[in-house]
Amino acid sequence: MKSAILQTATRYLLPILLLFSFFLLLRGHYYPGGGFVGGLVASIAFVLHSFANGTENTMKILRYKPLSLIPIGLAISAVSVTFPLLLGFPPMTGLWFEEPIPVIGMIGSALFFDLGVYLVVIGVVLTILFTIALND
């Protein structure tokens, strides 16, 4: 599908949507949002880009295969689950920094867990869609 309007639009939409998805991820603990829906929005951003510019070009922007996001995401989640063990707490204990970080707010292990989910979701969705799209 070649459409100059869509191509130009996605050039700006991709970063905005990604930013929005990250925003959803960060606010998840307090307002509607979270890693899962954030990941889905980010995937949609890439899918939109691939519609306008072709999947090959989107893969070029991504540089790495979306498949590689899955182990990274799983590892981040797993570390956030097991990290409390090192401090002598049972796994999955919520650990929080004392002071809020400017702009982002309170940061705790739950955020890292959600970040892992976010990456896994992007990896899974893009892997499935792009593998099917590129298959001949």
């Binding site: 949002g33 889905l40 498949l67 049972p90 867990f113 099917i132």
Partner: protein, 769 residues
């Protein structure tokens, strides 16, 4: 103690990235892992000898009662020393045995995994931790037995071993959880105090049965013994480690460990005596008919395990002392004999007893090790085996008056068989004339023949100075099993009594059997005629039957059409739900309490119905997919109206992506042709309408049910207090039910990998062969 378990696990996983390095001269680092662990446990000997127990507790999943509870007492210490000590010998030995093997790194990764799992089993003080490590030993031994994965026999043996021990593991878990629930604790050492409560519970026979199945499968007791001879397909270092000293003794360990909690009842003791007694005689006789060196050792191991079960069954203080000594005796001589067999196999490339002879001329130090081990196994005075045998006879002779004679007779028959089997494995290959084809045979690396020589020498040292073992820690082993002071004092000389006469008579009779029994193929063939009634045959028939049934069943249900699967799934759900609804009685709907309809809800429903109409009537796939997503978006809007923004957002994005996915797939499909007949349309319509009606009825029914809000109140109140989050939905996902989310992401990942590999890694037609 946790670190000793984790060391192996961590090193094992490090071998994945650093496997290449460890294949070079750096492999010398590997044996130092068991050495360090061995020294660690040796350092604990004085502490344990005083009768103190070392306890460690670390929370893991406290809400489920699963914790890293470790406890080191005399019994655990004996096993920990065996695991790390014999492990040290095996690591040195295996490093040379497998030098240059393609999967050298993999082998040691499995071996380290196994060692850690085994340490975990013997140290665990929590039922569930014990079970986790128990299963881990089954899994790691599966990899080790199937190490030569290009051989079909090897793979089959690995699978048999895994099925038998894995199945036993399930029974064990059930038994342990039952016992834990009755005693109201999952801590093993706390179970001991609840002995009377468990034993008098009506479920006690069931618990014992389940635990026994777990222990008997692991420790190769009749009728589950057959996986052990099959497991001899593993490389010999594995057999020497797993099948002499460690894994097969895990079942014995379990029985010993649980004796203070479940034992001392007629059911417990009699069953153990019958099963152990039968196994020991059966396997001892069987071992005489083998022509494969490892076959002889496998059956004599089963027999030795039978003896241990039998002794635990007798259950007197003397029997328990005998068992705790015999565990060590057997581990020392059997590991030596296995390693010797490995050397013979490695150098002559055969393990056939009918071909091997005269090897003493070329493998002198190996012969010395084998001879010492064979003599210890035969129970010659001044070997450790002599003390072990004495204690066994003492235990049987002092049993109740009218049974003592029979038990002693069983023990004597078994030991005669073991004497002969020991000689067959340790002396036969080395005596006689050296055939010309073996003249070129030479000694292997020092690291291969020194470890068995050390173990065999230990057998002699402990035999001459039994006090080293008895007074320093082995008495605590017996105390731990009996749950009381047993007063063990090991001596060489007990005076000229019945036991000594029996011992010498056994030795003489065993020697005679050895001299008369020439291993031959004809005898092997003769005994194999009974295979039809062997447990192995029967169990594999049952397994085949189940496989056949499942393939018939699967073929009947699975026809490969997605539409047919959908139909079956929905029909099944309808039946189930309809039945449940019918059970609930008539439905009353209170229209008064329903919220009044608003105009925008009516609008949404109108769009929904319109989209539905288009889906049913359209001739274009694309149109129907788009209409489906219209329905999805309408539902999103309904979520928004009823203040579920999280749900609406997720549904919205999912719907978008599903439509994209559909379009991508549709693009690849052939053009749409309408095959549909009137009858099929009507059938589908009925099923679909039925489903809609049932779901609507359920929704109405839910309204009618009393309002229970305990769960949502809990989350609502605690989300901010416990998890510092204001969005309850998200807090549930990442905190309260975080483990679920974790596993869901894993499932998603597996799905993605599945799609990726199905499409990307599709074999070309030329590669399909």
């Amino acid at each position: 103690m946790l670190f000793t378990v984790l060391t192996g696990l961590i090193t094992s996983s490090l071998l994945v990235p650093f496997g290449k390095i460890i294949k070079t001269k750096w492999s010398i680092l590997l044996p130092f892992i068991p050495v360090i662990l061995f020294l660690f446990y040796l350092w604990h000997v004085p502490v344990i000898a005083n009768g103190t127990n070392v306890i460690q507790h670390l929370a893991w999943v406290p809400s489920l009662g699963v914790n890293f509870d470790f406890r080191l007492d005399g019994l655990s210490l004996l096993f920990a020393l065996l695991i790390t000590g014999i492990g040290t010998a095996i690591f040195f030995y295996g490093r040379s045995y497998l030098k240059g093997h393609v999967y050298f790194d993999r082998f040691f990764a499995y071996l380290l995994l196994f060692m850690s799992a085994m340490l975990g089993v013997v140290l665990a003080n929590n039922i569930l931790t014990l079970f986790v490590f128990w299963e881990l030993t089954s899994i790691s031994s599966f990899f080790l037995i199937g190490f030569n994965n290009d051989s079909k026999e090897s793979r089959n043996s690995a699978l048999t071993a895994l099925s038998i021990t894995g199945l036993g593991g399930f029974f064990l878990l059930a038994g342990l959880v039952l016992a834990g629930n009755i005693a109201d604790t999952f801590i093993i050492s706390e179970l001991f105090a609840q002995h009377d409560k468990i034993v008098n519970h009506p479920l006690y026979p069931l618990i014992v049965g389940l635990v026994f199945i777990g222990a008997f499968t692991k420790s190769a007791q009749f009728p589950f013994h057959f996986w052990l001879p099959g497991a001899m397909k593993a490389p010999t270092p594995v057999s020497a480690y797993l099948h002499s000293a460690t894994m097969v003794k895990a079942g014995i360990y379990l029985l010993a460990r649980l004796t203070p909690a479940l034992g001392s009842t007629e059911l417990w003791n009699t069953t153990l005596m019958i099963v152990g007694g039968f196994t020991m005689v059966y396997a001892a006789i069987h071992s005489l008919f083998r022509t494969d060196l490892k076959g002889v050792l496998a059956y004599s191991t089963i027999s030795a395990l039978g003896i241990l079960t039998f002794l635990l069954g007798i259950g007197s203080n003397e029997a328990i002392i005998a068992a705790s000594v015999f565990i060590l005796v057997h581990a020392l001589y059997k590991a030596t004999l296995f390693m010797v067999t490995g050397i013979i196999d490695h150098e002559t490339h055969t393990r056939d007893l009918t071909k091997l002879s005269g090897l003493r001329k070329v493998l002198m130090p190996v012969f010395i090790a084998a001879l010492l081990a064979a003599l210890s196994s035969a129970g010659l005075p001044y070997t450790f085996g002599f003390i072990g045998k004495d204690l066994i006879y003492e235990a049987t002779l002092h049993y109740q008056e009218n049974w003592a004679l029979w038990l002693t007779a069983l023990a004597v028959i078994t030991n005669i068989g073991l004497v002969a089997a020991g000689f067959m494995a340790g002396i036969k290959p080395f005596t006689g004339r050296l055939p010309s084809e073996f003249e070129q045979v030479h000694l292997p690396y020092k690291s291969m023949w020194i470890p068995p020589l050390i173990l065999a020498t230990l057998g002699l040292v402990f035999g001459i100075f039994p006090g080293i073992v008895g007074d320093y820690f082995n008495h605590q082993t017996a105390n731990a099993i009996a749950g009381q002071e047993t007063g063990m004092h090991l001596k060489i000389w007990h005076g000229f009594n019945t036991v000594l006469i029996l011992s010498l008579a056994t030795l003489a009779a065993g020697t005679v059997v050895y001299l008369l029994n020439k291993p031959s193929r004809a005898k092997l063939a003769a005994i194999e005629r009974f295979n039809k009634i062997s447990p192995q045959h029967i169990i594999s028939n049952i397994a085949n039957g189940i496989t056949r049934f499942s393939s018939v069943y699967t073929n009947a249900i699975h026809d490969g059409y997605l539409r047919s699967y959908h139909l079956k799934i929905i029909l099944f759900a309808e039946l189930l739900l309809a039945y449940k609804l019918w059970l609930g009685g008539p439905i009353q709907i209170d229209f008064e309490n329903l919220t009044p309809l608003s105009w925008y809800e009516v609008g949404i429903v109108a769009i929904l119905i319109g989209a539905l109409y288009i889906i049913v009537t359209t001739k274009s796939r694309l149109t129907s997919v788009v209409s489906t997503s219209v329905i999805g978006y309408c539902i999103c809007l309904l979520f928004v109206f009823y203040s579920a923004p999280d749900l609406a957002m997720t549904q919205f994005t999912i719907d978008t992506l599903t439509t994209v996915l559909f379009v991508l797939v549709l693009y690849k499909l052939p053009p749409f042709i309408n095959f549909v007949r009137q009858g099929i349309l009507i059938r589908d319509a009925i099923v679909a309408l039925g489903f809609g009606v049932i779901i609507s009825l359920i929704a109405l029914r839910v309204l009618y049910e009393p309002n229970t809000t305990a769960i949502s109140d809990f989350y609502g109140e605690n989300a901010y207090l416990l998890a510092k989050g204001k969005n309850v939905v998200n807090v549930i996902l990442v905190d309260f039910r975080g483990m679920d989310t974790m596993f869901e992401t894993v499932v998603l990942s597996i799905a993605a990998l599945g799609v990726y590999s199905l499409i990307k890694l599709r074999l070309k037609s030329s590669e399909k062969e």
